[in-house]
Amino acid sequence: MAESKPKPKIKKESVPILKQKPEDRRRNFNEVALGYTEEQTLEEASRCLQCPKPQCIQGCPVEIEIPAFIKLLREGQYEEAIAKIKEKNSLPAICGRVCPQEEQCQKFCVVGKVGEPISIGRLERFLADWERDRGFAMPKKPPATGKSVAVIGAGPAGLTVAADLAKLGHKVVIFEALHLPGGVLVYGIPEFRLPKKIVQAEVDYIQKLGAELKLGYLIGRTYTIPELLKERGFDAAFIGTGAGLPAFMNVPGENLGGIYSASEFLIRVNLMKSYAFPEYDTPIRIGKHVVVIGGGNVAMDSARSALRLGAEEVCIVYRRSREELPARREEVENAEEEGIICKFLATPTRFIGDEKGWVRQMECICMELGAPDDSGRRRPVPVKGSEFIMDTDTAVVAIGRSPNPIIQRTTGGLEVTRRGTIVAEENGKTSLEGVYAGGDIVTGEATVISAMGAGKKAAKAIHEYLTKKPFA
């Protein structure tokens, strides 16, 4: 059939990526995936068919011109190749590592129909790392426009807005509530998936572009949005405050010691570096039997961190089945290789503690899948009388996070949904003049790339707004 035509031969297998061996990495916080060498990169890039009508692009939330950058890469024009990516994505070193490519570009790649799709993310990562290693080229400073923008939150959305607007000559001040910039990239995603020095390099670059970074400023408390605009003289504001409010299960015993929200657990480990306690002051206590409740990336990250902190046994308890696991498949595989156990179709009903108020056991009930719910996935329903007990001395609750509420509570006239997200148009415009928003605070929990994309659109809209706005 089609195979017999003298078409270019398709290499069905992608070049495997080097990883730290499971038995080594399960006890250290170093990066797991080591990345392609130059040779491997070129070999992988050679698999791309350079389709005239590329399918991959539609899978990319920011529509990177994938075949074009791969072509430049193959020709050895690395500088031009990374520039091509950066037309659309300002955080390639980060996205190359944490994007769910298997759900995005790579899912649509035609090679994927006959074999493994092109490892687009790994190519992106190689180019981004290559660029960082030789030092970012600084764009020429444009003349100052005299307009200023307050960016609230230093996560992927805020950092993108800040970079784009600074490049256009606007004065940008980033207000970040925590003592380090990066949002989830520093406080949530662990070092072994995304080394913090990569995030820091991006932030350094944005500061070199001229953006000012103010750490320890909780907007809504230190200043409100109206104060920033009216009293502090900012011409516009961007809200990129993310979805960090942890959800709990509301089952008895949830306030016992040893039960962490995933946010607390990961903030302690990543932001506060508790894994290096007592060199760092913030403690964390990991028991022998750790359970993590949930099935997303956050659950995987928590489980893998617990293992690295010395837990004997780590078990993920998820109320649906393997097929419904929302985490990236690659991360589930990584977790299982490291020895993490997944217990499907179960959910906690209560925690049982000792006299000191520390958790000792968790009671669960088995679930079965019923009719599909709103999300289209089959709804888990408890099986009567199927309760069982698990030894548990540390539990991490990773069942979702909702929007950070402080700005919504303190900004009159800002339209908010019932879920607590900020209402914004496609370009980030909110119900208040000069106020834009994007990222998880608008969409609810999503991805780095979508937050980055929202930032790009908002920066464009803010620039247009500022250009039209007369000088006060």
Binding site: L245, M272, D281, R285
Partner: protein, 281 residues
Amino acid sequence: MYEVLKNMELAPKIRLFEVYAPEMAEKAKPGQFVIVIIDEKGERIPLTLAGYDAENGTITFVFNEVGKTTKQLGILREGDSIWNITGPLGNPSEIRNFGRVLCVAGGVMIAPMLLQVKALREAGNTIVTAIGARIEELLFFEEEVKALSHEFYVATDDGSKSYKGLDFLRQILAKKKFDRCVSMGPVVMMKNVSEITKPFGIPTVVTLTPIMVDGMGMCGVCRVTVGGKMMFGCVDGPEFDGHQVDFDGLIKRQRMFLPEERLSALLWELQGGCECGRKQA
């Protein structure tokens, strides 16, 4: 970086800090707190504001040297810097003319209570204060609080000064009608105060001090049960209705990291309680 302008001992192991932080000084209100990180390896610890001066750009807090971080803070000299301070955080206290207000403060929290008393007095309230400490030597700000109060009482746990314990509050409450009670101090004290005011039906506001990390609603470590519901101390509080708080649950959660805290303090002492052995910030 925030410069320490004043480090003053108020009583044994109790210190008052004045720090240059003009933006916070301008925005702060009674009842709010800040989160202090001493250096890049430090813990985030919450401390209640005991004063602020927008004109001079300063904020004031008073703390007890109880563990590693507070001891390390204690040895900072005037002119030294604190790596990061976030604030003001938490909801400001409700300040208006309630009528007659009973203010009960214990230990280090006498300092923020002074701020509270000042504001309540300015709002036109009749102020009855009771301050207390474990022993007489640990009392401070007596004169300052007294000067702003219409009636003033002192108590110690051992009875070394005036009243012993809190029972005398019942007699005060029995004599006159009170419209509100504000209490700040050790959790056990606030629990007792709430139990005493409850039969009198006096609305009682307590300032809770659960363990915190971010202080902005993102981690949930500060969760407390109030009226059967889960609340976050940092963003829903720090002030709550004392008659609704599950104090025993709070006390247990405060002790969660006791072994680690002891280890941290011990290592600090072994290193001579100074910056040696730790990379200079």
